[in-house]
């Protein structure tokens, strides 16, 4: 039968109802123009990212060598040295900030999704949004006034970690809240129907199901806090030397970047670009790691 033309038993309708007319052609042209504009906007958005990445890489790559990662900054005006104390300092600040901020953020998100009711939810969410919207320098000023001046008495890593934790908490609340809301209600019911107390269902069923999204939220907040400069200037101050004492001023990559950038020496400018490149790379590596580690679960 293939290829054989079968004569239709029915007559053909007069005229073709599908032929386009000028009105249709105009609409199509307009639609294509719009699509073109939108694609251009998308292209611009992405190219800004690539331009920044490319520029920072070109300017910063020459600074990256072993000494850059292992040595401390040299005295004012000397050529050489690195950002090692800033790397270890950032690491310490972020670990402490995460220890402080992650339980608070996840706890608050659990409260909002699992226990909160009506106006309390609105209140907590409003407060969290307000903190998220605070200029980070304001967080720095606050921690400076509250901790540095009154409680601790000097610039310190601890105060810096607290400032970073304040910046992390609202980000964690928002992302973890969103991902907990994605966990189907039927899973909570299934757990409760087994005679498991609610808090145990949350720990044993809801959080593991949302694991990937929670990790993503935490990493996002760490990445954001890792690049903050203003609140650190007012709290940890910065330090050219290695320091592991939370009670003393501590270096951090963004502070070191700033110090190198504002100095009048080309060698230091190159190191500032290098520090910027390191910051970008750390954030990139972190997000790639979470993507790999959290493949295939609710994000």
């Amino acid at each position: 039968m293939t290829g054989a033309v079968i004569a239709s038993p029915y007559p053909v309708a007069p005229g073709l109802p599908f032929t386009d007319d000028s009105r249709y052609r105009r609409r199509r042209a307009r639609s294509q123009a719009m699509a073109g504009l939108i694609a251009f906007a998308a292209f611009l958005g992405v190219s800004i990212l690539w331009i920044i990445l490319g520029y920072v890489t070109v300017k910063g790559a020459p600074a990256l060598n072993l000494a850059f990662f292992t040595e401390r900054p040299l005295p004012y005006g000397e050529v050489g040295g690195g950002i090692a104390p800033a790397i270890t300092g950032s690491l310490m600040l972020l670990v402490v900030a995460a220890v402080l901020g992650v339980p608070i953020g996840i706890g608050a998100a659990i409260f909002l999704v699992e226990y909160g009711k009506g106006s309390i939810i609105e209140g907590v969410r409003f407060a969290s949004d307000l903190v998220a919207g605070l200029p980070s320098i304001v967080v720095g000023v606050f921690v400076w006034a509250a901790l540095v001046r009154n409680v601790i008495g000097n610039f310190s890593g601890l105060a810096g970690a607290v400032a970073l934790a304040i910046i992390m908490v609202p980000i964690i609340i928002r992302t973890v809240e969103a991902v907990l809301n994605l966990v189907p209600h039927t899973l909570r019911e299934a757990g409760l129907a087994l005679g498991v107390p609610k808090w145990r269902v949350i720990l044993g069923v809801v959080l593991p199901t949302a694991r990937a999204g929670i990790v993503t939220g935490v990493v996002l907040s760490v990445a954001r806090a890792g690049g903050e400069t203003a609140p650190l200037l007012l709290t940890t101050l910065g330090n050219q030397f290695f320091n592991w004492d939370l009670g003393k001023p501590t270096g951090a990559i963004p502070i070191q970047l700033y110090n190198y950038a504002v100095a009048p020496y080309p060698d230091w400018h190159e190191k500032a670009w290098g520090a910027a490149l390191v910051l970008i790379l750390v954030v990139g590596v972190l997000s790639i790691l979470t993507r790999v580690a959290t493949r295939g679960s609710v994000r």
Partner: protein, 285 residues
């Protein structure tokens, strides 16, 4: 096997035995009684004045057109309605082996440990493997040993007629099973905490006919040991699996009531109420 079983029971239920009647007759199995149960969603009443006795070691079916309050009713039998959305209020009594599960001193969490539930859509825990799903209830309420876990996994999967199909993929994700297998996994999970009564709310309505037949066979097996209440919109299913059938209907006022309850054969062959007769003859709903 018997020894381990009772050890697990001891773990799952640390509280003292509740059914101890000093000189009374031995329990024939776990039974339930519903006395004048009414349910409200906010101001709107959904179920009114239900009286019912649930026979021990038998399957009781609840049938009726959709919206007549079957799910609402069955969720009141283990206080699951308290965790759902929609503020609701319950009046009346629900007894398990003669003890009111709504008494003020009763912990609803413990009630659910005695009266398990299987839902309409299979809902295995996606973060857990097949084996972990089975023992999830045990692990979340106690610290079972490795051998107790292994024993429970095999025994409950076997009881749920799933062991042969999944024994080689116990560590695969529960979500990787077919819909029917997932539902039997959920039944195994419910059995693992050794409930007295098993409630099922339309357990087959998301399944294909072959998976449905397997679950029905399973229910027939399980009712030798367990007291089962099953909601179904499928009258043939009620006739195949249930010893007793209760017919619910919502009148014009959209309030569900128990119209008639009788041994299944009798309810379908000689319904006492003409609304039952019309419903089982397929004249509405």
């Amino acid at each position: 096997m018997t020894a381990t079983h009772s050890q697990i029971e001891a773990l799952v239920r640390p509280e003292p035995v509740r059914h101890h009647v000093p000189h009374g007759p031995e329990l024939p199995g776990h039974w339930m009684q519903v006395i004048n149960l009414s349910v409200w969603y906010g101001a709107r009443q959904a179920v009114e004045g239900v009286n019912m006795t649930v026979r021990p070691k038998a399957a009781t079916a609840i049938i009726g057109p959709s919206g007549c309050g079957k799910s609402t009713f069955i969720r009141c039998l283990n206080r699951m309605h308290e965790v759902g959305a929609g503020v609701n209020r319950v009046s009346g009594q629900v007894l398990l082996d003669g003890h009111d599960i709504y008494a003020p001193s009763v912990d609803p969490v413990k009630v659910r440990r005695h009266i398990g539930m299987v839902f309409q859509r299979p809902n295995p825990f996606p973060s857990m493997s097949v084996a972990e799903n089975v023992v999830a209830g045990l692990r979340l309420v106690s610290n079972p040993t490795k051998s107790q876990v292994d024993e429970t996994v095999e025994r409950c999967l076997d009881q749920a007629a799933l062991w042969d199909e999944v024994k080689d993929k116990l560590s695969a994700s529960g979500a990787s099973l077919s819909g029917g297998q997932q539902q039997r996994l959920c039944i195994a999970r419910a059995l693992a905490v050794s409930p007295d009564v098993l409630l099922m709310d339309e357990p087959c309505s998301a399944l294909d006919p072959i998976a449905t037949a397997k679950i029905e066979q399973l229910i027939i097996e399980l009712k030798r040991d367990y007291t089962i209440v099953i909601v179904t919109h499928n009258m043939q299913q009620a006739q195949r699996v249930a010893d007793e059938t209760a017919f619910f209907l919502a009148a014009e006022d959209r309030i569900g009531r128990l119209v008639e309850m009788a041994p299944t054969g009798q309810l379908f062959a000689h319904p006492a109420d003409e609304r039952t007769a019309a419903y089982v003859a397929g004249r509405f709903g």
